[in-house]
Symmetry: C2
Subunit: 220 residues, 2 copies
């Protein structure tokens, strides 16, 4: 892995994925947008504006994107979570796989409904954790905030069983305007994933569109 | 219920319970400290300093405290959670029962280990929700912060299936220096309870003693 790791965003044409892609591209990272078809992915990549002097983003199928990248970020809907893990399993050996998937169960997306395994992060860890280093992150930031400019008043809870991988992911979060928080083991992904439903409900109840969370009482 | 509801704090001699008792007493609320024995409860009540012109706190057995109060707050350890619910079940009809219990499983208290029911709040709701109005709150505030003076940089996530009861509990939180957040249905208690383990781990990892959470993006 170079200083600037190649970041693949699978499901990168969706709301969260395209927001992350936009920010990492603007921060000068080499980004591969992944989607079901390479054509859709290339279209989305072409729509992104690279940083001055930074690399132009590329578009590939999810599988090819995962294969070509150093860090693989999953932003697919929960209904596709199992399928994407199966699809990329053989090409993520030794890589960091950042699971940003939230196990929302429509229509009651504002009610916590965690899966029997505990969390999407734990599902990913169980499925590919013997090969990849699974880290969970980005559950609590609204896609609309990523699309806007400037720093975001939302901390990113980063969980995973490998402390070095958590640090690496935290180092990728700060250049895109948020603070990453080392939140411990992958079992703790349950807290971040559950919080998403609360934030969706708070947005409705408080008539806002950007509720987020911040950890208080720590410096930096 | 009067304007100033009588608040019983069961397990009120513990760290969290005594911190809440101190703050509600100072805010002028009539407080009943509950404990296993009336003697221990009275001792703890006598140690509290009433607000100028405010009512002196009293001490009773947990059962008598629950019986005498308008609002009953549970701050017992998770290992006593089932027992206290059974004990008070017959004297909380129509009352608000605020469950502040976190399902920590020693020794790994910094790892989320939610119970099969989803949360302590859901356990309470299943057990006594046909009689009492179960609300979950206070999982994320450190007892040391309650013991200190002044406002606390930690929001309190308030969940429960009865919206009016959530509002009542939020109205009891603001006079003691925190902001209560309407966080929806009792199923959402899982998020607040899971967050406690993250905060315990963050305290260790960041070498602080007062990590908390705040909801961003809403006014007030």
């Amino acid at each position: 892995m170079e200083n600037q790791p190649k970041i693949a965003i699978l499901g990168g044409t969706g709301a969260l994925g395209s927001g992350l892609a936009k920010r990492w591209v603007q921060a000068g990272f080499p980004v591969i947008v992944g989607s079901r078809t390479a054509e859709k992915a290339q279209e989305a990549a072409n729509a992104l504006t690279p940083a001055a002097g930074g690399p132009a983003p590329t578009g590939m199928s999810n599988y090819d994107a995962a294969k070509a990248a150093d860090v693989v970020v999953l932003t697919v809907p929960f209904s596709n979570h199992d399928a994407i893990l199966d699809e990329i399993k053989d090409v993520v050996e030794g890589k960091i796989v950042v699971d940003a998937v939230v196990p929302l169960v429509p229509p009651k997306v504002a009610v916590v409904q965690l899966p029997p395994e505990g969390s999407a992060g734990m599902i990913a860890h169980n499925k590919i954790g013997d090969k990849a280093r699974v880290v969970s992150a980005f559950q609590n930031v609204g896609a609309n905030k990523l699309q806007a400019e400037g720093p975001i008043a939302c901390d990113i809870l980063v969980t995973g069983n490998d402390v070095e991988s958590r640090k690496t992911v935290i180092s990728l979060i700060e250049p895109i305007g948020m603070r990453g928080i080392d939140a411990g083991a992958i079992a703790n992904a349950a807290a971040a994933e559950a919080m998403t439903s609360l934030l969706i409900g708070i947005n409705k109840r408080y008539k806002v569109d950007c509720a987020g969370i911040q950890i208080t009482g720590i410096n930096g």
